[in-house]
Symmetry: C2
């Protein structure tokens, strides 16, 4: 059984719990998704991933592959679907693997968990994980895809520049001031004075 860089399935589960915070069934689904991707891609290529959700799948992909958000080998395009594209970073060709709603119906415990048909307190985690591991790759649809050429572009590593507004460093290709000071990112905090009152 494929376990990524872990010595056993149990080791993977332990690390999933430590990293993600719980033994999420979605993480175990991801194990089979990544195994399936490996079967469909040629050996010896460098693979990047686009994950379509910010949930457990994203964490499991980071654990099971060399791809993380911080090394840019995994990107998230949040369509909210349990799906990911695994592709050759040179050619852009690869496979999109998505959870099949049809196939899910054949695994009662897994279906009830995924579609939240049973309250969490009444779910049997072991039965769900067993169901996932018995069905494995059969739970997924696999579609050959080619990613958009823009995703293959490697941005040159250029020195950061200092933002004239906030005085912090940022990548020069973001513009004449940093994206935070441009206001193009979500405004997500406000400063408090030292006494805790609002500025």
């Amino acid at each position: 059984m494929f376990c990524g860089p872990f010595s056993s399935y149990e080791e993977f589960l332990k690390e999933l719990e430590r990293f993600h915070g719980k033994k999420a069934p979605g993480g175990v689904l991801a194990l089979h998704m990544v195994a399936l991707a490996r079967e469909h891609l040629p050996e010896g290529i460098l693979v990047d991933v686009i994950c379509e959700t910010r949930k457990c799948l994203a964490d499991a992909i980071q654990l099971l592959t060399p791809c993380t958000v911080g090394n840019h080998w995994m990107k998230i395009v949040d369509t909210g679907r349990f799906a990911a594209v695994f592709y050759d970073k040179q050619t852009g060709e690869g496979v999109r693997i998505s959870l099949s709603m049809e196939r899910l119906k054949e695994c009662r415990a897994v279906n009830e968990w995924f579609l939240k048909l049973v309250p969490k307190k009444d779910q049997d985690l072991e039965a769900i994980l067993d169901g996932i591991n018995r069905a494995g790759g059969r739970l997924f649809d696999v579609c050959p895809v080619e990613v958009a050429p823009g995703l293959l572009e490697v941005r040159p590593k250029v020195p950061p520049v200092i933002c004239p507004v906030c005085g912090e460093a940022y990548p020069p290709y973001h513009g004449p001031v940093c994206r935070g000071c441009q206001g193009v990112t979500e405004s997500y905090y406000r400063e408090l004075t030292v006494s805790g009152t609002k500025k």
Copy 2:
């Protein structure tokens, strides 16, 4: 020395290299950033993080704290700055910690690395890491902040619905069809026929 969940600094470096792909100096900077956040926040609270870059800092925060992209305890607001907000997930109060360009100047090897003043092949990784570890928390500015109230809202866990267009499951609050089929996410792939020609 604070090492997050790792037994030693060396263990952290090893895990950083495995997870992120290299012993990135930014990961070691993150170690001191997280240690500083702990000093400024009360004990016993649940802390969420907003990371302002998709680079090594994001990976190191995922390794050093319980917060990951997949468990939603770490969010990324990509201003491109080496900064993060660590906040009490109940009250929204916390600290924004950012790399100080002024303080950086006092550490030659670190400054030359961060501002890419020296070609990578001429950089001395050990000197950079030593410089970071000697300066530690002094490299950062700390600002008390309050995060936007919207970030504290906990979305109810509702059953997914099936998208009438693609047939995949997605969160109902995304709209009547999934975000992929709405076209609100980046269009990042196209399907290939089995023979490899484009549809």
